[in-house]
Amino acid sequence: MMPDDVLDLLAAVLLLLGAFLSMAAGVGLVRFPDALSRLHAATKPQILGLIFILAAIALSSRSWSTLLVLAPILVFQMLTSPISAHMVARAGYRTGNFRSDLMHVDDLEEVVERATRESAD
């Protein structure tokens, strides 16, 4: 087997792994019960899934210029996805888009209540 074949095989495996994670994210979106937990499914496997896909592209193209394009994609994804997840989680929590019967501990409830009271005064 040539070294190139090995790299191509590796790229194929990585592509499949990335595809699997993306599919799991889609299934999670449907199956998870409320907005907050769906958020986990939607945003999370994506990071590793994206890393797998980008690694597969880098392995199959094997050029520096591709790598230089792929790197900022990953960096921006890693910087922006926590922020969007944070904003949706924050809004989702405050608008009550979650099932409190599924909450084991809720440390935030009291804090938000007090803040709402204080801002009403």
Binding site: H40, T43, P45, I47, P72, M78, Y93, D106, A115
Partner: protein, 219 residues
């Protein structure tokens, strides 16, 4: 990401920038230098060329961006330990893989998800930089999302999947604190390194907010 929409009276960014002396100006430039370099590097990366033209235009754009979108300068600790940073990256990568497949199998598995929690974790550091990095790292690790940050008390509130018992909640708190500690070892100030080291000895009660936040927050 940490302070979105939460305005505290007296917070650093509320103070209008005072007229700067020459020395102050030089200090501010020095503090902003890493940001400027990053912006220029990014600009050149996006153009895909390493040339003087892209460097000079990148410099101009970086200055324009930092002037027009003013942010309080990020206060770095001035410490950087490559070894501990590598340790952090390795642990982060491991967490990423374990968490991703964990959430994926939860989505596909027959049991689905069980119970979740919104957990408050009282961080040791008071540095905005470390709080932000910890929140980003925690948010990137699948299974937990930072939903709210109390910057004054440095408490982060995170929503976590399958934290269905008190043990799981405690384990999550210790996990967050260990991520914080790893980051502090790599990038934090010497005082923070000491404080996190002391905290690591204090056992499972660590990270529970002692006093609830008192400041008013917007709703």
């Amino acid at each position: 990401m940490t302070n979105t929409g939460t305005v505290y009276p007296g917070a650093p960014e509320a103070v209008p920038p005072a007229p700067a002396t020459r020395k102050e100006l030089r200090w501010r430039l020095w503090v902003q230098l890493p940001l400027l370099i990053t912006l220029v590097a990014l600009w050149m990366l996006l153009w895909g060329t390493l040339s003087w033209l892209s460097f000079v235009s990148g410099m101009l754009v970086a200055f324009a961006v930092t002037r027009s979108f003013y942010l309080p300068p990020v206060e770095l600790s001035g410490r950087f330990n490559p070894f501990w940073f590598a340790v952090f990256l390795a642990r982060f990568a491991a967490d990423l893989v374990v968490g991703s497949f964990g959430v994926a199998f939860q989505a596909l598995g027959p049991r689905g998800i069980t119970r979740n929690s919104m957990v408050a974790v009282d961080l040791v550091t008071r540095s905005d930089f470390i709080i932000t990095l910890t929140s980003i790292a925690i948010s990137l690790i699948p299974g937990s999302i930072v939903a709210e940050v109390d910057r004054h008390e440095s408490i982060i509130y995170l929503h976590a999947l399958t934290t269905d018992s008190d043990e799981a909640v405690i384990a999550l708190r210790l996990k967050v604190l260990s991520v914080e500690r790893a980051l502090v070892r790599a990038l934090g100030s010497a005082a923070d390194v000491k404080a996190t080291g002391v905290l690591a000895m204090s056992g499972p009660t660590a990270g529970i907010p002692v006093s609830p936040p008192r400041k008013g927050r917007d709703s």
